[in-house]
């Protein structure tokens, strides 16, 4: 997967742009989508507690991979959405899922040895969409591109809101 900062910046750029067209996408919801964009990265919990350790302790087969799938994003978004006040919960869930899906799409674009993007759509299907093999996460140019795009969006958004003041927060 792309690094977490690239995920968050990509979601920032995408949802800020969406906010120019859709009034419901305000700044407070852009940051929730940015948080959602981090959900697929939770699979890196494996660095702290190895899945094999969990298997040895519980005696059950175990994998963190579902964090980086549609099913995992929907469920984790649900858990996080419950932390929001009643009146915000549904919207929070929607923006968390949308942010998480953004990251799954970004991850689906990276270089893959077998030309497949992996089990992003689990548990609906094990089928992995074909990957366009666009980038390698360890290539700093990936972050370079997302930084430039997010920076440009930030400046344009700032000038836009300063100029027209049309976006109710």
């Amino acid at each position: 997967m792309a690094d977490l900062l690239s995920h968050v910046l990509a979601a920032y750029a995408l949802f800020t742009l969406a906010g120019w067209r859709v009034d419901a996408v305000t700044g407070r919801w852009v940051v929730v989508a940015m948080g959602g964009a981090a959900i697929p990265d939770l699979s890196k919990v494996s660095i702290v507690v190895a899945p094999r350790t969990v298997e040895e302790v519980t005696g059950l087969p175990f994998s963190y991979a579902p964090f980086s799938t549609l099913g995992g994003v929907v469920l984790v978004a649900g858990i996080i959405a419950l932390l929001f006040g009643d009146e915000y919960r549904r919207q929070a869930w929607g923006f968390l899922v949308a942010g998480g899906v953004t990251s799954l799409v970004v991850d689906g674009l990276r270089l893959s040895i077998d030309g497949r993007a992996g089990t992003l759509l689990y548990p609906l299907t094990w089928w992995g969409p074909p990957s366009p093999n666009l980038y390698l996460t360890s290539d700093p140019r990936v972050l370079g591109v997302t930084l430039v795009v997010a920076g440009a969006v930030f400046v344009l958004d700032w000038r836009r809101s300063a100029g027209t003041d049309s976006r109710p927060e």
């Binding site: 968050v8 940051v31 940015m34």
Partner: protein, 189 residues
């Protein structure tokens, strides 16, 4: 109201744990090639098959691929001689790398032969190839996932910045209402 919230939260957590177990139990039958786990647990059963591994590149030592502990050769790229000997002289279409299987490092070193590209110790690769009897994989395709020894630390450092960024921007818009245990819109923002 809070009780219902707790109940729903528990249901979602149980469903998520269910996915973790289900994925762990069934992913193997959906993958195209045997991977690190199958090789480490039953190497001999897969000799001659096409396998797909995720490996961390290690310096080639004198008695290469003897198996057993990998820790001696640990933290890649510790000295210059190791680095230069990590790949065979032929860095063309038939290079050799010593790798350990990610998450199964204790299985010891394997040799990847016939690689069309190599990565220095400390980097990591994915390899699709044929498993041979002598702890060797004859590579068909090599993908340098972390082509430098700094690639993985770079990703973690950058990701940590991402995590901090999320927290900072989130709490500029939202605050935790301690009495309701819920995020509420920050009105003073």
């Amino acid at each position: 109201m809070q009780g219902r919230r707790l109940l729903l939260g528990c249901a979602l957590v149980v469903a998520l744990l269910g996915l973790f177990v289900h994925y762990g139990a069934t992913a193997d039958s959906h993958q195209r090639y045997p991977d690190n786990e199958e090789i480490a647990l039953s190497y001999d059963d897969h000799v001659g098959e096409t396998v797909q591994i995720s490996g961390i590149v290690r310096p080639v030592t004198a008695n290469e691929s003897s198996g057993g502990s990998d820790t001696a050769g640990g933290s890649g790229g510790t000295n210059a001689t190791d680095v230069t000997s990590a790949t065979s002289a032929t860095d063309g279409a038939d290079a050799t790398m010593a790798v350990v299987l990610r998450n199964w490092e204790s299985f010891g070193t394997l040799t990847v032969r016939g690689a069309d590209r190599t990565v220095p110790p400390g980097g990591s690769v994915q390899v699709i190839g044929t498993l041979a009897a002598d702890r060797t994989i004859i590579a068909e395709r090599v993908l340098p996932v972390n082509p430098h020894s700094w690639s993985e630390p770079y990703k973690y450092a950058v990701s940590a910045v991402g995590a901090v960024l999320i927290l900072v921007v989130f709490f500029r818009e939202w605050r935790l209402d301690a009495s309701r245990l819920a995020f509420e819109v920050r009105e003073d923002g």
